[in-house]
């Protein structure tokens, strides 16, 4: 971590190409530790592509090419010597739609942990309680951990997915529209969880709900057509944005 400025992730002149098309254009963005960075922007602005580039998820599909650097604790994650699996443990991701696995709540949480080699039951029990508690789900499911994860509500399933990411003890949590399919109460649960989690993690939240960024993000970045238009303290972005494009987007005048 860059000590002076507490920077967890630093992207430098990041360009991302899908075949010949340039999807991200010269992104320079410093992401501070133990903060929530909200990323907003219209469809096709590159915000999800940017998020997925932070744990090299884009590479799961052929045709992607990267220029520039993404430094995680000052180490370039596109360095050829870096183990991608361990990167994805350190930088976990929660997707828009909850992906509960067809197994018990308990097994959903420890799925990745077991794959990484931890077998001790007492250790796994501890991880389950800790992760579900941190995801604000423990109290609702502690008496039915053997119930199928698929039997939970959408909001609970999303918190289960968050618990599964937390079980891997990442440094950074990426969230791609985590509340898009959730009702306002479930959304509040997730937002409350994020606000607590930032004490121990660095969180990057892509959202189409600009007010969600306003509510929970410490800083907000506005993406447009693959470019980072503006980044700043959330209270500044939502009161006195510097760029006209940002103002037009957050006030709904875009397009």
């Amino acid at each position: 971590m860059t000590q002076e400025k507490n920077i967890k992730i630093d992207t430098r002149h990041l360009n991302l190409y899908f075949h010949e098309e340039k999807i991200l254009k010269d992104i320079n963005l410093e992401i501070t530790s133990n903060q929530i960075l909200g990323i907003i922007g219209p469809a096709g602005s590159g915000k999800t592509t940017f998020l997925r580039s932070l744990n090299r998820m884009n590479e799961l599909e052929p045709g992607w090419r990267v220029e520039g650097q993404i430094l995680l604790d000052e180490i370039d994650i596109y360095n050829s010597e870096l183990d991608v699996i361990s990167l994805r443990k350190r930088v976990g991701i929660v997707f828009a739609l909850p992906v509960a696995l067809p197994m018990s709540i308990y097994e959903n949480v420890v799925y990745g942990v077991r794959l990484s080699g931890i077998k001790d039951k007492a250790r796994l029990d501890e991880i389950v309680e800790k992760s579900l508690s941190a995801a604000f789900l423990w109290d609702e499911v502690k008496d039915r951990l053997n119930l199928s994860g698929l039997r939970l509500s959408g909001g609970q399933q999303q918190r289960l997915c968050l618990a599964r990411v937390l079980a891997m003890e990442p440094d950074v949590i990426l969230l791609d529209e985590p509340c898009s399919g959730l009702d306002p109460i479930s959304t509040t649960w997730i937002e409350d969880a994020l606000t607590e989690l930032k004490k121990n993690y660095t969180i990057i939240l892509v959202t189409n709900n600009t007010m969600q960024a306003a509510r929970v993000a410490d800083k907000t970045a506005f993406f447009l057509m693959g470019e980072l238009v503006e980044v700043g303290l959330t209270r500044q972005i939502f009161t006195t944005p510097v760029k006209k494009e940002t103002n037009d987007y957050i006030t709904g005048r875009f397009g």
Partner: protein
């Protein structure tokens, strides 16, 4: 959605302009009455103030609806907040017009004292400030708003000078104690009118430039 929002904002603007126009008419009328001593002009001032009060409630409801339904941000949020504040200032100006009308009735036989004391000049200045504040509001004109801000001190100085003048008058002639007391209340009202005009101009600066300039306090930038 955006069209609906724009309609609500336009409707709020229209209400503010109508209210401001009513306030301007009331103030114009009471100052003419003060200048001429024609108390007939004061009739109907109170009834007309009722219309201003109705706008006060309407604008508050419009702002509440916009905040609840659209959750505006940035310049839109500042517009609604400044509309709420300006609404409050205009309503107070309406009340002041009623108060001045009452004083005009009570001081109509002291025209010479009014003329001698510079009250008419002070009133003219305050009235001009309010007119400019309303023009600035309607036209979103920061230059006019700036003129209002610069004039506040002139009215404050009038207030101090006239107060001392009236106190001196009271000292010299007991018969002048009652009329001078009414006139002291009157200049207090005129001074408040100028303050509200200043506040309206400050609200416009807040809306258009995102700067809080009231109380002459500069806020430090947010701490990261």
């Amino acid at each position: 959605m955006q069209d609906h929002f724009n309609e609500e904002i336009e409707s709020l603007k229209t209400s503010l302009i109508k209210m401001a126009t009513l306030v301007d008419e009331q103030v114009e009328r009471v100052f003419t009455a003060l200048e001429t001593g024609d108390i007939q002009l004061c009739k109907g001032i109170k009834a007309k103030d009722r219309e201003i009060d109705i706008y006060d409630n309407l604008i508050q409801t419009q702002c509440e609806n916009i905040l609840a339904l659209f959750q505006p941000v940035a310049i839109d949020l500042r517009f609604v907040l400044s509309a709420l504040m300006t609404n409050n200032q205009l309503e107070r100006c309406g009340d002041i017009a009623v108060n001045i009308a009452q004083r005009v009735k009570k001081t109509s036989d002291t025209q010479s004292l009014i003329k001698e004391s510079q009250i008419l000049d002070m009133g003219q200045q305050a009235k001009e400030m309010l007119k400019n504040a309303i023009d600035a509001l309607i036209l979103n004109d920061l230059e006019i708003a700036q003129k209002v801000l610069e004039s506040d001190e002139i009215v404050d100085n009038f207030n101090k000078q006239i107060f001392l003048f009236l106190v001196e008058k009271m000292k010299t002639d007991n018969a002048l104690i009652e009329p001078c007391s009414h006139l002291i209340v009157l200049i207090r009202n005129i001074e408040r009118l100028a303050d509200h005009a200043t506040n309206i101009a400050e609200n416009l600066v807040f809306y258009l430039e995102a700067k809080i300039i009231k109380h002459q306090i500069k806020l430090n930038p947010p701490i990261e």
